[in-house]
């Protein structure tokens, strides 16, 4: 589904990603973790071309992301993305947030788009909020809407960039529950998160990044029981004791 081969990126002299190589199969859930500034966000934003990269290759569902001839907008409409700060459109009602890209990008009609939107709001338990505006919802609710908005495009895979780290602790689980549900249904997912409980329950594999490199890329059992690198061991020790 997603294949990365020796992806590198730099800002001037600063190397953000170095030779990142990994494969994500259909239906897999990959958790990406690592210290702040290690390049996790950059890595998953390369997958849908939100960040350009200078060398290497990323293939998503047979399409090369970096190739100049690739229609990036079209590619992105098939890859869902959820951001740390939700990024709902504040000037639109919740249902319009869910409909707008269906209408303008997929060319669905108003009726189809709304029906799909309502169905997904039901699914994340927010049907009654459809006519409200994002500012009237709690952080956890907004993030569930953001997930529903991405799902409305019928994506072939989903990218998450720290979807719970801007949330108050009591709202983390409502979002993780939606993600867990999604994983159970077989959605292919790449999640940057520090929620190790989620990783232990749901992940197929864990990628650990440090200074722009993929340092560990292993099954979750192998990662949690005997991480090979010292950096990953330190990271785990720190994060699990919190």
């Amino acid at each position: 589904m997603i294949s990365m081969n020796k992806v590198s990126k730099h800002y001037g002299a600063f190397q953000v990603l170095t030779d990142c190589t990994t494969q994500v199969q259909k239906g897999e859930v990959i958790v990406v973790c690592g210290p702040s500034g290690s390049g996790k966000s950059t890595l998953i934003k390369c997958v849908n071309g939100l960040e350009p990269f200078q060398s290497g290759e990323i293939i998503v569902n047979g399409v090369s992301v970096g190739a100049p001839a690739t229609n990036l907008s079209k590619l992105r409409s098939t890859v869902g993305m959820v951001f740390q700060n939700f990024e709902l459109f504040p000037h639109m009602s919740i249902i319009d947030n869910l409909s707008i890209a269906q209408l303008k990008v997929l060319g669905r009609n108003q009726e189809q788009a709304r029906e799909k939107g309502y169905k997904l709001l039901d699914r994340v338990g927010l049907r009654e909020q459809a006519e409200k505006y994002p500012g009237q919802l709690s952080g956890g609710q907004q993030q569930r809407v953001a997930i529903a908005r991405a799902l409305a495009m019928d994506p072939i895979c989903m990218l998450f960039d720290e979807p719970t780290s801007a949330l108050d602790p009591e709202m983390v689980n409502e979002v993780l529950d939606v993600m867990t549900e999604l994983a159970k249904e077989g959605m292919t997912m790449m999640c940057v998160t520090h929620e190790m409980g989620f990783a232990k329950r749901v992940a197929s594999r864990v990628i650990f990044m440090d200074q722009g490199r993929i340092v560990e890329d292993d099954s979750k059992e192998a990662f949690f029981e005997h991480a090979r690198s010292e950096r990953a061991q330190q990271f785990l020790a720190k994060i699990l004791h919190h």
Partner: protein, 226 residues
């Protein structure tokens, strides 16, 4: 001490109202064209295509560095001649109103584009990223997501600029076009009551602009609390 005599005003009211209509026409047209052209300039300025952003930067800096009254004079004196010789417009046709509108619109666009550019930049970067991630093109993301939010924040500034523009329309007197100020001047000059007419005109400008800026402030407060 001056003996005030206001008697020439009541009879002149229809003429003054015609002048006010010209002032308002210039203001509204220049605001609309200025915002449209200013938005395009702002988008060019922010674009990654270097020639476009240079052109916009050059345009804005040029118009902000010359006095408005000079721009107006260019438009009154030079542009009609150009149009005559290029498009064969009949010589001597009165183009003062359209020249004034064009001059104001092109001049104001430079100011509007700076307001709009700041407005676009005040929308969080993540909004563009989220719109793109949903598969929207750059144009769709701008039009549907970024610009509506930018304009919402900018409305007070754009209106304030419109109020300034309304006052500045009085500069068309350089072309002897009878806008409100020009009309008041003409009446005062004719009746030898210039002081009264100019005081009256000043009071009218004050009432209109003061009321308008109160409305802007009210809207601004509403935005803040929303």
């Amino acid at each position: 001490m001056h003996d005030f005599d206001w008697s020439s005003i009541p009879n002149a009211l229809p003429f003054l109202w015609d002048g006010m209509k010209i002032s308002l026409e210039i203001t509204l047209s220049a605001v609309v064209f200025g915002i449209v052209w200013g938005t395009l300039l702002a988008l060019m300025r922010l674009s990654s295509v270097t020639p476009l952003s240079w052109f916009a930067a050059g345009y804005v800096n040029l118009f902000r560095a010359v006095p408005l009254v000079m721009v107006l004079l260019w438009f009154f004196l030079i542009v009609p001649h150009l149009l005559e010789s290029i498009f064969g417009f009949p010589r001597g046709s009165d183009m003062r109103l359209s020249s004034a509108i064009a001059g104001f619109a092109l001049f104001e666009a430079a100011y509007y584009s700076e307001i709009i550019r700041a407005g676009i930049q005040s929308v969080p970067k993540g909004q563009m990223a989220a719109a793109s991630a949903l598969g929207m093109t750059y144009g769709q993301a701008m039009r549907l997501v970024v610009l509506p939010q930018a304009f919402r924040n900018m409305v007070p500034l754009l209106l304030t600029q419109g109020i300034i523009l309304f006052q500045d329309t009085s500069l068309v007197y350089v072309s002897a076009l009878a806008d409100f100020f020009g009309a008041a001047y003409k009446v005062g000059d004719r009746d030898g009551r210039l002081v009264e007419l100019l005081l009256f005109a000043g009071a009218v400008y004050f009432v209109i602009c003061f009321t308008a800026s109160r409305i802007v402030r009210y809207y601004q407060n509403k935005l803040k609390t929303a």
